[in-house]
């Protein structure tokens, strides 16, 4: 049974004082009961998060070499959010849509690392034949709907995906991701209103990584508890420790079930952190080195799983090294493909404009 965290309960539970605490340690404030993952799930989560981490490190490196152009927004630090949520849905059936920090979402959806990396380098083997770039990739097969560059636009679009599910009378769910920055866009609330009005199956996942580009949440948001952003629409919301894949999965299960049961939308505020700048050319002068270091050493989503795996004797150091080797091989292969795959043929300039 899904437990509906009432909005009344929420408002008293996380008063202003909780705000300060949260800047130190993200916590699942309402649902302290975090179900353990099985051994297989932990290992899968470790592998999936590590793939994103290594992929993004490689992308950063290739950007530094000039192989990737334009904007490049890395997901490092936030891996537990997409990996945990993906464990709650049916791949290829439920829809996923996000903004421009999208590499992690695509890898979590099961999209091929080669195709993603080749899109970053603007090559013909990329998911969009090199015509989309870092921010614009899609996969009908995996039901990944982008990859959108206008902050907040994906919220209305993802609500439309949920509308289509309801129209077709199936039980699919739309996972609609956006950040703490996008959460201040007007169309987010237009979408919330319609989603609750029409009971659309959409989980709004607000990835609160504390900074909208360089603006700290507290400098941009009158209400910094994003789980409350649906209160006036009667949309239930939860704050989730987005650095802990177990907490993400547990909350995700509740939210997805809520949607599948036809009860309407659900909001999950994922309290997370990006280690890198907003994009590659971000000096990150708006936060301290200590803050970043603390998050990395104390709350790293991958290290948490790794520690549990070792502590419980579910994996040996060698087994984890093997996973790391496999992941590095996948990333190296993707990087090589993306480096040597040719650019799109010039004839592609005028294709794919109209069907």
């Amino acid at each position: 049974m899904a437990v509906r965290p009432t909005t009344e309960k929420r408002s008293s539970a996380s008063a202003q004082s909780a705000d300060k605490a949260r800047t130190k340690t993200p916590r699942t404030t309402d649902n302290p009961q975090i179900a353990d993952l099985s051994k297989d799930e932990e290992i899968q989560a470790y592998r999936d998060m590590l793939l994103i981490r290594r992929f993004e490190e490689k992308a950063g490196q290739m950007y530094g070499m000039g192989l990737i152009g334009g904007f490049c927004h890395l997901y490092i630090g936030q891996e537990a959010v997409v990996v945990g949520m993906q464990m709650c849905i049916r791949e290829g059936e439920d829809q996923v849509i996000t903004g421009y920090r999208d590499h992690g979402h695509m890898l979590a959806c099961g999209m091929d690392a080669k195709g993603v990396m080749a899109e970053l380098t603007g090559r013909r083997g990329g998911y969009s034949k090199g015509k989309g770039g870092s921010m614009h990739m899609f996969s009908r097969e995996k039901q990944f709907f982008g990859g959108h560059g206008i902050v907040g636009a994906q919220v209305s679009l993802g609500t439309g995906l949920a509308f289509a599910n309801k129209y077709r009378k199936n039980d699919r769910v739309s996972l609609t991701y956006f950040g703490d920055g996008a959460a201040n866009q007007g169309q987010v609330y237009e979408s919330f209103n319609m989603a609750e009005l029409w009971k659309l199956p959409v989980v709004y996942i607000i990835e609160n990584n504390r900074y909208a580009m360089g603006t700290a949440v507290s400098r941009a948001s009158a209400q910094t508890d994003f789980s409350k952003r649906g209160v006036s629409f009667n949309i239930p919301g939860e704050q989730v420790d987005g650095m802990d894949v177990r907490a993400v999965k547990a909350a995700g299960e509740r939210a997805v079930q809520w949607c599948r049961e036809g009860k309407g939308p659900y909001i999950l505020e994922m309290q997370t952190y990006r280690y890198r700048g907003h994009s590659m050319s971000d000096p990150a002068k708006y936060r301290s080195k200590d803050e970043v270091t603390r998050m990395r050493t104390e709350h790293d989503p991958i290290e948490q799983v790794r520690a549990r795996l070792l502590e419980r004797g579910w994996s040996s150091e060698d087994e984890l090294k093997d996973i790391d080797k496999d992941v590095r091989a996948v990333v190296a292969e993707a990087a090589e493909f993306a480096t040597y795959d040719p650019e799109p043929d010039v004839s592609e300039l005028y294709t794919d404009i109209l069907l």
């Binding site: 490190e57 490196q61 530094g64 070499m65 000039g66 990737i68 152009g69 334009g70 829809q95 849509i97 998911y127 969009s128 034949k129 989309g132 770039g133 614009h136 899609f138 996969s139 009908r140 982008g146 990859g147 959108h148 206008i150 636009a153 919220v155 209305s156 609500t159 439309g160 995906l161 949920a162 509308f163 289509a164 129209y167 077709r168 007007g186 237009e190 979408s191 319609m194 890198r276 700048g277 590659m280 050319s281 971000d282 000096p283 990150a284 091989a329 190296a332 292969e333 990087a335 090589e336 480096t339 040597y340 650019e343 010039v346 300039l349 005028y350 794919d352 404009i353 109209l354 069907l355």
Partner: protein
């Protein structure tokens, strides 16, 4: 095999920098994520972070060295074996460095200059030209019935909704109110609230929602109470609906129709009186239709609903109540992108569309009395524009006047003029004249409003000018 660490770029425009400091020294163990060095440019300092693991075996560029070129090897890491697994091949770009806390120019991110200019091919490929389809042949004994544009639009939607269960209509007051302008009259009763959906007043939101539904394969008809309100939603029409097919390499089609009254009505002031034909017609990835007659409204709306692309369908409140002869056929579908010769003539070509046609037709009647035989082209579709039809007519008449209610600068007429310069320059016997709405926000006062719109007299005056008639 040792791995080279290369001098990274912190932005696509950076060419060299100073190696300010080595944080690790030779012999140190390096783990992924460790900061190994700091580099400086004239703009900022940044840290070089290791990606691969191993031992720092050699430092190739000393601390304090200025002007180190991007991609120069600065150090070597000898791996403990794992970095080499599946690693880049000999000679390929093997590095272990990545800018971590990269400082940027204050103006922010700049688009990259690709590093592979050698491979780019000079010369832009020619834009493909597609021949517009012709109108279907009607049976010789076809019966015509009188119908208003309003009825034609409603019938078009109803017929397509009967034909295809994925078609639905949404917008403000489309269901229970029966349409703010009664275009959706009766649809709720026939198709139920599942398919005729009243939205809140939330254009940005429901336009985006419609586009999302279209991405997933439904065929939404999104009604704007007027296109003036679609300004709230223009981001989704352009950035989401029109561009996604291209950005997805052809994967993500968007079969959606945005429709509603467009242009000036009467005495509603500046914010409710604007023709958006030129705005939307600039966007690759959109089709833009603006019908005049009821038959065209019906046949083109049916085509728009069936079209796999986003179509902006611009109607006009004043035309809604006007009656036209509509052929009585089972399935009237007309080709988007094909102009219609409304009236044949030999002395001058008048090109118009939508409500502009009311000025053009009245002017042609009066001109006939003066002995000037005008040909009228009703564009019907603004994008893709049927340029061959205009050019063919102008080659015959040698003279052209365009008529539209929109603003003059960068308007549809301006585009027609440019196309004629490129494709019919040698055939023109006079400069083309545009008759447009005036270059002012629409005034409210009746006399000023009349002046702000085109007039039959202005069309006649323009035709006289291009035909050098006194």
């Amino acid at each position: 095999m040792p791995i080279d660490i290369l001098m990274p770029a912190l932005s696509p425009t950076m060419e060299e920098g100073k190696l300010a400091k080595w944080v690790k020294k030779v012999g140190d163990t390096v783990k992924s994520g460790d900061v190994i060095a700091e580099i400086e440019t004239d703009k900022a300092t940044m840290e070089v972070e290791a990606v691969d693991e191993g031992t720092l075996s050699e430092i190739l560029v000393a601390e304090g060295t200025e002007g180190v070129k991007v991609n120069t090897p600065i150090a070597k890491i000898s791996g403990d074996g794992e970095a080499a697994v599946g690693g880049p091949k000999e000679g390929s770009a093997a590095t272990a460095s990545t800018p971590k806390s990269a400082a940027a120019p204050e103006q922010g991110e700049k688009p990259a200059v690709p590093d592979n200019t050698a491979k780019t091919v000079s010369g832009v490929p020619a834009q493909p030209v597609s021949e517009p389809l012709s109108d279907p042949d009607l049976p010789a004994d076809v019966e015509y019935v009188s119908m208003t544009v309003r009825e034609a639009l409603r019938d078009a939607m109803a017929e397509e909704m009967r034909r295809d269960p994925t078609v639905f209509v949404m917008g403000e007051e489309v269901a229970e109110y029966q349409g703010a302008y009664k275009i959706t009259q009766g649809l709720l009763q026939e198709f139920s609230a599942d398919r005729v959906i009243d939205t809140p007043i939330t254009e940005h939101g429901f336009a985006g929602l419609g586009v999302g539904a279209a991405f997933s394969g439904l065929r939404p008809i999104v009604e704007f109470m007027t296109f003036n309100f679609a300004m709230q939603a223009i981001d989704h029409i352009i950035n989401s609906a029109a561009k996604t097919l291209y950005m997805s390499g052809g994967q993500m089609g968007c079969p959606i129709v945005f429709r509603g009254p467009n242009g000036a009505a009467a005495r509603v002031g500046a914010q409710h009186s604007q023709d958006y034909a030129a705005w939307y017609s600039q966007i690759p990835g959109l089709k833009v239709v603006q019908p005049y007659s009821a038959a065209d409204a019906k046949g083109l709306l049916k085509a728009a609903i069936r079209d796999p692309n986003p179509v902006v369908f611009l109607e006009n409140e004043i035309l809604y109540g006007q009656s036209f002869q509509v052929p009585k056929v089972d399935d009237l579908v007309l080709p988007i992108g094909k102009a219609r010769i409304h009236r044949k003539g030999k002395d001058v070509t008048i090109v118009s569309f939508g409500i502009g046609m009311t000025y053009a037709t009245k002017a042609a009647d009066e001109l006939a009395g003066m002995g000037i035989d005008a040909e009228i082209i009703d564009l019907r579709t603004i994008r893709p524009m049927d340029v061959p039809a205009i050019v063919a007519s102008v080659k015959k008449t040698g003279r052209c006047v365009t008529v539209e209610e929109g603003f003059p600068q960068s308007g549809v007429g301006a585009e027609i003029v440019a196309q004629l310069m490129a494709n019919a320059f040698d055939y023109l016997d006079a400069p083309v004249i545009r008759v447009t709405g005036k270059d002012v926000p629409m005034p409210y006062a009746a006399n000023l409003e009349k002046l702000a719109l085109p007039s039959v007299a202005e069309v006649i005056e323009a035709v006289k000018a291009v035909t050098y008639t006194a």
